[in-house]
Symmetry: C2
Subunit: 156 residues, 2 copies
DNA sequence: TCTGAAAATGGACCTTT
DNA sequence: AAAGGTCCATTTTCAGA
């Protein structure tokens, strides 16, 4: 189980994964070795999924973020699995959620321009019989972006 | 400007930010010092926004991902800015996009349970006159999650 | 590109609860 | 046992020649 030390560590490394273990140690009041052990353990257990660099899309030629909602025809497991796979494999799809509500999927795309998005639309949606309808929202402003889980120490 | 070496480096560190610079060097065919310089430069320029650890929400008591779309009453700049600010400050909101299309905002929440979400809903939406309507989609499956920009070397 | 100093990581080992 | 601390070897980073 996770204690407050772990929770604090997770908070820190979600904000900045480059903080050194000795710096983390002073911040959470542990020895560097203990920090090392805890990080290592959480990584092994999958609590820490992975470490990553967040790239500014507009600085590398991908200024467009597009969000799609999709409704499917059939919710048969094997048909859905094929769809999910095709979304997973598409590098321009950053995120894919299978949801309950008015829609079945929510997708977030990172693309160079609208033409690229339209092309993907053709490949992924129009040529797929199981897509009943979809809607497109174009992001004008990425107000907040991240995957931070709001873990917080229970006391302090 | 970014050349193919930079592009490859970005690809690598988006996948695993812990890859050592010497390992990166062999992968992209550069000296470790050159890799160091390039990473440092891209971080300074903001091409690399930051380094982060991705935490598995379900392993730390945040198993619920909820997606909301919002339509506002007024799109007056100052009113919008206040809304954006309130979303930015809410730790359970991982992502917020200001969009064009049928809706004005798309929000992605990471919460402990539905009660927590309902509470936020009251605070953020019901007590805000500028929220005309909103819709909720509950994620049953986070099929793909990340913020990877699909940078790819132009040849090879 | 190479070399080397400073820093960070992570294991060994002992101590505490 | 389980977890913390100290010490030390190895690896990594990163600046200067």
């Amino acid at each position: 189980m996770l204690d407050n030390f772990d929770i604090k560590l997770l908070g820190e490394i979600q904000q900045d994964a480059q903080t050194s273990q000795s710096e983390l140690a002073t911040r959470v009041n542990l020895s560097p070795a203990a920090v090392n052990r805890r990080l290592r353990k959480m990584a092994a257990e999958g609590v820490i999924d992975r470490y990553t660099a967040i790239v500014a899309p507009e600085k590398v030629g991908y200024p467009l973020t597009v969000i799609c909602t999709i409704e499917v025809e059939s919710e048969q497991i094997d048909v859905l699995d094929v769809m999910k796979r095709s979304f997973e494999l598409c590098p321009q799809i950053q995120q894919c959620y299978y949801v309950a509500g008015e829609w079945d999927f929510v997708l977030i795309f990172s693309v160079r321009h609208m033409d690229e998005f339209n092309l993907l639309t053709r490949k992924l949606f129009f040529s797929n019989d199981n897509v009943k309808r979809f809607k497109t929202l174009v992001s004008m402003n990425r107000v907040k972006v991240g995957l931070q889980v709001p873990v917080a120490a229970s006391d302090e």
